[in-house]
C-alpha cells in the first residue's frame, strides 16, 4: 500500500518539464474552444504535433520497444488530463492498433502503424448497431465474400470520431445461422471506401458521435483481422481493456479503474463547488454557513472518494453511478446560477456540475451499460449464475 509522491530522477524531472511545456504550448484556448464547438473530442493539429514529437509512439509502445517507462507514462497521462487534451479518438486508435498488430497481416501493419504513430492515421470502433445496444454480439451488419473482396452492408451507431478517422474496426456477421459468438468477423475498413456514409449525431454532453451506413462497401480480404468467424477472439482484447477487466499494476503507477478520465469532471465539479461555497455574498454570508449546504457537499465528497477508490470493474460502475447521484446535489448547492453552462456570464462553477449531470448518462452507457457490468459482477464475482431472461419473442413477421 503506497500513496506517496513519486520522487523523480533528474532525467524524469526534465521529461516532466518538457511535457508540461509542450502541452501548454499546443493545447491552446483555441484548441479547447474548437473542441467545445465541434464536440469532436479530437484536434487534428494537436494530434499531429503529438505524433511529430514522438509522444504517440512512446505512449503506445512498451518500454522494451522504445516506449515510455512506467513513470513517464503516468506523468504523461496525468498531465494530458490536467491540460484537458481531447482524448477520445486517440483512445480508440490506440486500442484498435493492438488488434492490428496482433491479428493483421504484415502488409496491413505496414500500411497502418507508421501513420498511427505519426498521427496521420486514426482508427475508430464500429461495434454498436442501431438495434443492438450493449450486446456487441447481436450484429446484423453483413459481410459476404466475393473472391478476394468482401461486400459489407449494414449500419453502426456511436462510431465516435469516424469523421476524423481513416479506418473503422468493424464487426460484421459472416455466418448468420451460427451461434452468435461464432458468426463474427472483424475488418479494418478504410473509411474512404465508396458506399460509406458518415452522419453526425450530437449527444447531450455536447460531444459528437456518428451513425455510419455501409452500402455494398467492397473491402479487400487483406483488411480482415483474424480468422473468418473468429471475430469474437479478435474483439475481446480491446473489449477487455474497454471494460476495465485488467488487473492493477503493483507499482501504483496507473488508475485503479477505467473511467478515471471521465471521473475527472466530477472531481473538478466537487473541488469548484467546495471553493465557491466559501465566497461571501454582499451581505457577508457564505453558502457553507448553511448546514444543509455543508451536509450535501460533504456527502458528495464522501461518495465521490468512495467511487474513486473502487477498483477495476467495480470502479467503473461506481464512478458512472456516483456522477449521476451527486451532480444534482452539487448544482442545487450552487443555486440557479449552476444552470448556466461553461463560458456563460455568471455561471456558478463555470458550468462544471451541469456538465457532469449531462455527461453522466453517457458514462453509464458507452463501452457497456451499467447493467452489463452489474451482470458481470453478479455472475463472475459473486457467482450468482447467468442472468435469467424471459424466452425470446417468436417473430411474427
Amino acid at each position: 500500500m503506497d500513496f506517496s509522491r513519486v520522487e523523480l530522477s533528474e532525467e524524469d524531472k526534465t521529461f516532466y518539464d518538457e511535457a508540461r511545456t509542450f502541452l501548454k504550448t499546443h493545447v491552446t484556448e483555441e484548441v479547447r474552444r474548437r473542441d467545445r464547438e465541434t464536440g469532436d473530442n479530437f484536434d487534428e493539429g494537436l494530434h499531429l504535433a503529438f505524433g511529430a514529437a514522438g509522444y504517440l509512439a512512446a505512449e503506445w509502445k512498451p518500454h522494451s520497444e522504445g516506449g515510455f517507462t512506467r513513470v513517464r507514462r503516468r506523468i504523461w497521462e496525468l498531465e494530458k488530463r490536467r491540460a484537458h487534451v481531447p482524448w477520445v479518438t486517440w483512445g480508440t486508435t490506440a486500442m484498435v492498433a493492438r488488434s492490428v498488430v496482433k491479428f493483421g497481416s504484415a502488409e496491413l501493419q505496414h500500411e497502418v502503424m507508421s501513420g498511427v504513430f505519426a498521427g496521420q492515421l486514426r482508427l475508430c470502433l464500429g461495434y454498436t448497431e442501431p438495434e443492438g445496444g450493449s450486446d456487441v454480439a447481436t450484429c446484423k451488419t453483413r459481410a459476404v465474400r466475393d473472391g478476394d473482396v468482401w461486400i459489407i452492408n449494414g449500419s453502426k451507431m456511436f462510431t465516435t470520431g469516424a469523421h476524423n478517422c481513416q479506418y473503422v474496426f468493424l464487426i460484421t456477421n459472416t455466418a448468420p445461422d451460427a451461434p452468435k459468438h461464432k458468426s463474427l468477423t472483424m475488418f479494418l475498413v478504410p473509411l474512404n471506401s465508396p458506399g460509406i456514409e458518415i452522419q453526425g449525431i450530437r449527444t447531450v454532453d455536447g460531444d459528437r458521435t456518428n451513425i455510419v451506413y455501409y452500402s455494398d462497401v467492397r473491402v479487400d480480404d487483406k483488411y480482415r483481422l483474424g480468422e473468418v468467424n473468429a471475430g469474437w477472439t479478435v474483439m475481446r482484447e480491446p473489449l477487455n481493456t474497454e471494460h476495465g477487466a485488467v488487473a492493477a499494476a503493483p507499482d501504483g503507477m496507473q488508475d485503479n479503474s477505467i473511467m478515471m478520465h471521465q471521473a475527472g469532471s466530477m472531481v473538478e465539479a466537487v473541488d469548484r463547488a467546495s471553493a465557491r461555497v466559501t465566497q461571501p455574498d454582499p451581505s457577508g454570508r457564505r453558502l457553507l454557513d448553511d448546514q444543509s449546504v455543508a451536509y450535501r457537499l460533504g456527502r458528495s465528497v464522501a461518495r465521490m472518494e468512495a467511487a474513486l477508490s473502487a477498483p477495476n470493474i467495480f470502479g467503473r460502475v461506481a464512478i458512472a453511478q456516483t456522477m449521476r447521484d451527486i451532480s444534482p446535489d452539487l448544482m442545487d448547492i450552487l443555486g440557479a446560477a449552476s444552470a448556466l453552462s461553461l463560458g456563460t456570464d455568471g455561471a456558478a462553477d463555470d458550468g462544471t456540475a451541469e456538465y457532469v449531470y449531462r455527461f453522466a448518462p453517457l458514462v453509464g452507457i458507452y463501452g457497456g451499460t451499467l447493467e452489463v457490468f452489474r451482470n458481470m459482477i453478479g455472475q463472475y464475482m459473486l457467482g450468482l449464475g447467468k442472468p435469467n431472461y424471459s424466452p425470446p419473442l417468436e417473430k411474427t413477421s
Partner: protein
C-alpha cells in the same frame, strides 16, 4: 488540491498485512459464531471473547512502542476492524483502542490506567463530534473503567472519568454496551489535557473512530451480502434460482461495489493518517459517511432478499441489520461528519483558488 499530482495509487496489502488479516479472520471464525453474538446481546459484551482477543495482542498492537505497545499502523487496525464487523464481535475494541490511543497521545497513560494497554481495563470515550454538555450516551459506557469526554469548557479540557458503580446498560439497536453517562456524577474526574492541542488530539480520536467504524461496516456488509447471495443461489422461483434475476443480482452487485469502494477508501484514509496526516484529513470521515449510509441500505436489502426467512429474529441477516444502523449511530448523526468533510475540503479549495476566483 492538485488532483494530477504524481502519487502512487497502490492499494495492495503486504504479506504482513495478509498474515494479520488471516489471523484475525480465523480468530473470529473460531471464537465468535453467530450464537456467541446472540448470547452476548443482553449485556452487549462478551468478556471471555474480549480476554482472548486481548491475549492475541489486539489492544496492545494499537499503542506506540514508546507506550509499551506494538506500534501498529492505522492500516493494520482497519484490517482488524473489518473482521470485527464481519463477525459482529460483541467487543468494544474500536472504542477502546481509539480511547487508549488518545490517552497515549495526551501522555495520560499512567499508574491509574495501567490496565488499559493490554485491555484489562476498558477505556471508552464520547464518540460524538457535536457533543453537548451534560448527560450523554456513551457506546461502551456500561462496561468501561475509564470514560473520556470533553467537558465543554472554554479552555477545552479533556477529562477522564471513573465511576464506582458503572452506569447501567440501556438496550439499543446496535446491541452495544451503551449507557447514559452523567459526567457530573463521576466518582473521579481527572483532567488529561486542555487547550487546542488536547482538542486536536480528541478530534483525531473521533476521526480514528469513524475510520475504524467504516472498516467494520465494510466487513459487516460483505458478510451479510455473502449470506444473502448464498441464500439466493439456492432459493428457486418459477424453476430458476432467484440469484439469476436482476432484481436480486443487481442489488447484490451494488453491495459488492460498496464493499470494494468503502474498503479501499478506508485503507487510503488510514494510510494518509499514518503517513501524511495533514494531507487528506477528510478521508476518514468520508469513509464513515459513505459506509454509514450504505451499510443500512445493504443490510436492509440483504434481509429483503431472504424474504420471510430474512426478517426472522433468529436469522443472521437481522443481526447484521440492527448493527448496520446502531454502530455508526453511536457516534451521533453521521451528517455531522459530512459537514466536517465539507469544512475541510472547502477550506482547502478556497485557500488554493482564493486568489483566482
Amino acid at each position: 488540491m492538485d488532483r494530477f499530482e504524481l502519487r502512487r495509487l497502490d492499494y495492495s496489502l503486504s504479506d504482513d498485512h495478509v498474515d494479520l488479516q488471516t489471523a484475525y479472520k480465523q480468530f473470529f471464525k473460531t471464537h465468535c459464531s453467530i450464537e456467541t453474538v446472540r448470547a452476548a446481546e443482553p449485556s452487549g459484551f462478551d468478556k471471555n471473547l474480549w480476554e482472548r482477543l486481548c491475549a492475541m495482542g489486539a489492544t496492545t498492537m494499537a499503542l506506540p512502542e514508546s507506550r509499551g505497545g506494538d506500534g501498529a499502523t492505522l492500516v493494520d487496525l482497519t484490517l482488524v476492524a473489518e473482521e470485527i464487523g464481519r463477525s459482529l464481535a460483541p467487543v468494544p475494541w474500536i472504542d477502546h483502542v481509539c480511547a487508549a490511543r488518545l490517552l497515549a497521545r495526551l501522555g495520560a497513560l499512567g499508574a491509574d490506567t495501567a490496565g488499559v494497554a493490554n485491555g484489562e481495563q476498558l477505556a471508552a470515550f464520547d464518540a460524538r463530534i457535536d457533543s453537548a454538555p451534560g448527560v450523554r450516551l456513551i457506546p461502551s459506557g456500561s462496561i468501561a473503567d475509564h470514560i473520556i469526554v470533553r467537558d465543554g469548557s472554554k479552555d477545552g479540557a479533556v477529562v477522564r472519568l471513573t465511576f464506582g458503580t458503572r452506569p447501567a446498560k440501556v438496550d439499543n439497536i446496535g446491541r452495544l454496551p451503551m449507557a447514559w453517562v452523567d459526567p457530573a456524577a463521576a466518582d473521579t474526574r481527572a483532567v488529561v489535557g486542555s487547550g487546542a492541542d488536547a482538542l486536536a488530539h480528541y478530534q483525531r480520536a473521533l476521526d480514528e473512530w469513524r475510520l475504524l467504524t467504516a472498516a467494520a461496516l465494510v466487513g459487516l456488509v460483505e458478510e451479510t451480502m455473502t449470506i444473502a447471495a448464498e441464500f439466493a443461489k439456492t432459493r428457486y422461483t418459477l424453476g430458476v434460482p432467484i440469484s439469476t434475476l436482476q432484481a436480486i443480482s443487481h442489488p447484490l452487485a451494488n453491495m459488492a461495489i460498496t464493499v470494494q469502494g468503502g474498503r479501499n477508501l478506508a485503507r487510503r484514509a488510514a494510510w494518509f493518517l499514518d503517513n501524511e496526516p495533514d494531507e487528506r484529513p477528510e478521508l476518514a470521515s468520508s469513509a464513515f459517511v459513505f459506509m454509514a449510509e450504505e451499510a443500512a441500505k445493504a443490510a436492509t436489502m440483504a434481509v429483503h432478499i431472504q424474504g420471510g426467512l430474512g426478517v426472522s429474529a433468529e436469522a443472521a441477516a437481522t443481526a447484521y441489520l440492527v448493527r448496520a444502523r446502531g454502530w455508526p449511530l453511536a457516534g451521533g448523526d453521521p451528517g455531522a461528519s459530512a459537514m466536517r468533510v465539507a469544512e475541510i475540503v472547502a477550506a482547502r479549495e478556497s485557500a488554493l483558488r482564493g486568489a483566482r476566483v
